[in-house]
């Protein structure tokens, strides 16, 4: 029964699932705190996943892959910024456009280069390797400590550590740096920020660029750490889940990350719980557990669990008053 659930592997796979959402959610945090809705996270994840897988495969170097992902995702973010800030277009429509366009384009390119039905070849040696902490072998025999040291703290790729290291950094940037103060001002009341001499356009462009770079790690992580290849539509709604965690975390970094970890946990449980007989309820089909994050988000959105307030100026282009 409960032994079947493998609590230990749930913990480990939660840690491994969370970074995809964490990078994307941090990206969304920067964009949305500056007042730009970022529905296009999904498309950027997908594009950077493809770019990093393709480049890592052809150069056999994962770091070039990561760099290519950053370039592609940042370029898309700047396109979004151009449409939302300079063109003052509809930000939601722009995000949807990027999602749909990238879903098609990545498949077309993958098919063009590799002819494997929208998949890149396995990266093999070009994957990012897990870091084995020194002394892992020595403590491996000790029951709990060995597992804790070797699989919870150690044994992940660099990107996992980067994701967790970003949390305090982003928190500091948003709440304690000059840029963060301006960023929040632009998202809450751009006219006041403008009157105080802050360039709203420049702040939002910078925020979108940061968002693009952060989002690329999400795609790179999916492709060259988790799977070891690119697959069509492999982001599978991660960008939207990241948006959901923003709602969940009330657009605050630490709470948002807790949301990401929670969703990562659901994903880990879903894999473990399939086909396991639970007391009283029996078997729960995976497709129902898959629903949980979305249902939770709707409940939070409805204000039934906690009040979530979006940045005030979100989604409205800034028009300088004359």
């Amino acid at each position: 029964m409960f032994e079947d659930l493998h609590l230990a592997s749930i913990v480990v796979s939660t840690i491994r699932n969370a970074p995809v959402l964490m990078f994307a959610a941090m990206a969304g945090l920067f964009a949305e705190r500056s007042g730009v809705v970022d529905i296009g996270l999904e498309g950027k994840i997908l594009a950077s996943a493809f770019a990093s897988a393709a480049v890592a495969y052809s150069t056999q170097n994962p770091w070039y892959g990561v760099a290519a992902g950053i370039l592609v995702s940042a370029a898309l973010a700047l396109l979004q910024a151009y449409v939302s800030i300079t063109q003052k277009g509809n930000q939601l429509v722009c995000g949807i456009a990027i999602n749909i366009a990238m879903s098609g384009l990545t498949f077309v390119l993958a098919q063009f280069f590799y002819q494997q039905g929208g998949r890149t070849p396995d990266l093999g040696q070009a994957r990012l390797f897990d870091i084995v902490l020194p002394g892992t072998e020595a403590v491996d025999g000790i029951p709990v400590l060995g597992w804790l040291y070797g699989h919870v703290i150690g044994g992940h790729s660099v990107l996992v550590y980067l994701a967790f290291a970003l949390v305090p950094l982003v928190h500091w940037m948003i709440y304690h740096s000059r840029f963060g103060l301006r960023l929040r001002a632009c998202g809450e009341n751009p006219h006041a920020a403008d009157a105080a001499g802050v360039s709203v356009e420049r702040t939002r462009y910078t925020a979108m660029l940061v968002a693009g770079v952060l989002c690329s790690f999400s795609g790179a992580y999916l492709a060259i750490v988790q799977s070891g290849f690119f697959l069509r539509d492999m982001s599978a709604g991660a960008g939207f889940l990241a948006l959901a965690t923003l709602v969940f975390g009330n657009w605050r970094p630490v709470y948002t990350v807790l949301g990401c970890i929670m969703f990562g946990f659901f994903a880990a449980v879903q894999i473990q719980i399939e086909g396991v007989d639970l007391p009283l309820i029996g078997r729960i089909p995976g497709s129902l557990i898959q629903m949980v994050p979305y249902v939770v988000t709707v409940i939070v959105l409805a204000g039934l669990m906690a009040k979530s307030v979006a940045p005030k100026a979100i989604g409205t282009p800034f028009i300088k008053s004359r």
């Binding site: 809705v37 529905i39 449409v83 939302s84 063109q87 277009g89 509809n90 930000q91 939601l92 429509v93 722009c94 949807i96 456009a97 990027i98 999602n99 749909i100 366009a101 990238m102 879903s103 098609g104 384009l105 498949f107 077309v108 098919q111 063009f112 929208g118 069509r232 709604g237 939207f240 948006l243 959901a244 709602v247 089909p285 497709s287 129902l288 898959q290 629903m291 979305y294 249902v295 988000t297 709707v298 959105l301 409805a302 204000g303 979006a310």
Partner: protein
């Protein structure tokens, strides 16, 4: 005197055409980079989707679905709501249709069965749109995020229901059983043999009727006036005595019902059973259509036909040119949404400048 606003002919016709051409230009560039000839591809596409009568029939068959999803997105957009959930509403609408079919298809004749199934699809689609509408109206939850979540919930829910309950015993294919022949939409090739053996059916005529009803209701009725007022300026509409929250909920119900009805053409017009992920993105195409057609009935019709042609022509094109798979048209769809939706006023300053340059002397006289 300088004009600061574009005349109607420019904003209703010139801008959309320029935007569409820009999107197609980018697409042509990508096709060129893939090593294929864009002009040749275009001629294959037009030949197989428009000129060949069977191809045209398929184009209109796909367009029938898209008209409904396009209308679904448009109605909500007129009320100022961006309903991304048409995909999920269509999926759940298909469930309503299937439940009606599974319980009645051996008991009722076609003339009673088909309306029952249509009502089922509309009711289920509307019900799936109701909660996001309600949450937007009463709790202020953003409709875009809730409808996205509802798309995912619908996908998981349908996956569960189809696999667990709807697969006939002993079958592996994740689909319901095939409906009785009474549940088949009459095909138009019975009256027009030139169409060949194509699934174009009465749904197309229903779609045209829906366009007309939509046009009359939105522009020629007091309800439509209230709907548009809500979308253009909710504060003013509220001041004029319109109940905004009621308007939002009603608009979403209609939007969901239309999305649900889109499943009629896909299921009863062609496959005759409910299958996993049958909407296949039609709800998202609806977004592109609503933006490109500027929520106007004629615009919706033309853009639906365009997308039908892209799907049908794209299918033939992908057979002849392996470097241009059908997914290319998902990319083009994204480009169209980008140019016709998000960057719709990209060319407005240039046109305005041109008008002011050429129009200035006349104004003086």
């Amino acid at each position: 005197m300088k004009t600061t606003e574009l005349p109607r002919w420019a904003s209703a016709f010139v801008l959309p055409v320029l935007n569409l051409l820009s999107a197609l230009l980018v697409a042509a560039l990508v096709i060129h980079l893939l090593g294929e000839n864009p002009a040749e591809s275009l001629s294959i596409l037009i030949n197989s989707a428009i000129i060949n009568p069977e191809g045209l029939s398929y184009t209109l068959f796909y367009a029938s679905t898209f008209i409904f999803t396009g209308l679904s997105v448009s109605v909500a957009m007129k009320a100022g709501l961006f309903n991304i959930g048409s995909e999920g509403q269509m999926y759940i609408g298909g469930l309503g249709l299937t439940l009606a079919m599974l319980s009645l298809d051996h008991a009722l004749p076609a003339w009673a069965l088909i309306p029952c199934a249509m009502i089922g699809s509309a009711l289920f689609g509307a019900a799936w749109a109701w909660l996001p509408g309600y949450l937007q109206a009463r709790r202020g939850s953003h409709i875009v995020v809730t409808t996205i979540m509802f798309n995912f919930i619908a996908a998981s829910l349908m996956n569960f229901l189809i696999v667990k309950y709807l697969i006939p015993e002993g079958q592996q294919n994740p689909a319901s059983r095939v409906f009785a022949t009474a549940g088949e939409m009459p095909r138009l090739n019975e009256w027009f043999p030139v169409l060949g053996d194509t699934p174009l059916n009465v749904s197309f005529l229903l779609a045209i009727a829906a366009l007309v009803v939509y046009g009359v209701m939105v522009w020629r009725s007091s309800w439509g006036y209230q709907l548009r007022a809500t979308g253009l300026n909710p504060h003013a509409a509220h001041y004029a005595g319109i109940s905004i929250s009621r308007m939002i909920i009603v608009a979403m119900l209609i939007s969901g019902a239309l999305a649900g009805l889109a499943s009629v053409n896909s299921i009863m017009g062609s496959t005759h059973y409910l299958s996993l992920n049958f909407p296949a993105g039609a709800g998202f195409v609806g977004i592109a259509i609503a933006l490109m057609g500027r929520q106007h009935p004629v615009g919706i019709f033309l853009s639906s036909v365009l997308f039908g042609a892209l799907i049908q022509g794209g299918f033939d094109l992908s057979l002849e040119k392996p470097n241009i798979p059908q997914e290319t048209f998902i990319f083009i769809q994204g480009l169209i949404i980008l140019f016709c939706g998000a960057m719709e006023n990209f060319y407005a300053p240039a046109i305005l400048k041109m008008l002011n340059l050429t129009g200035a002397p006349q104004q003086k006289g």
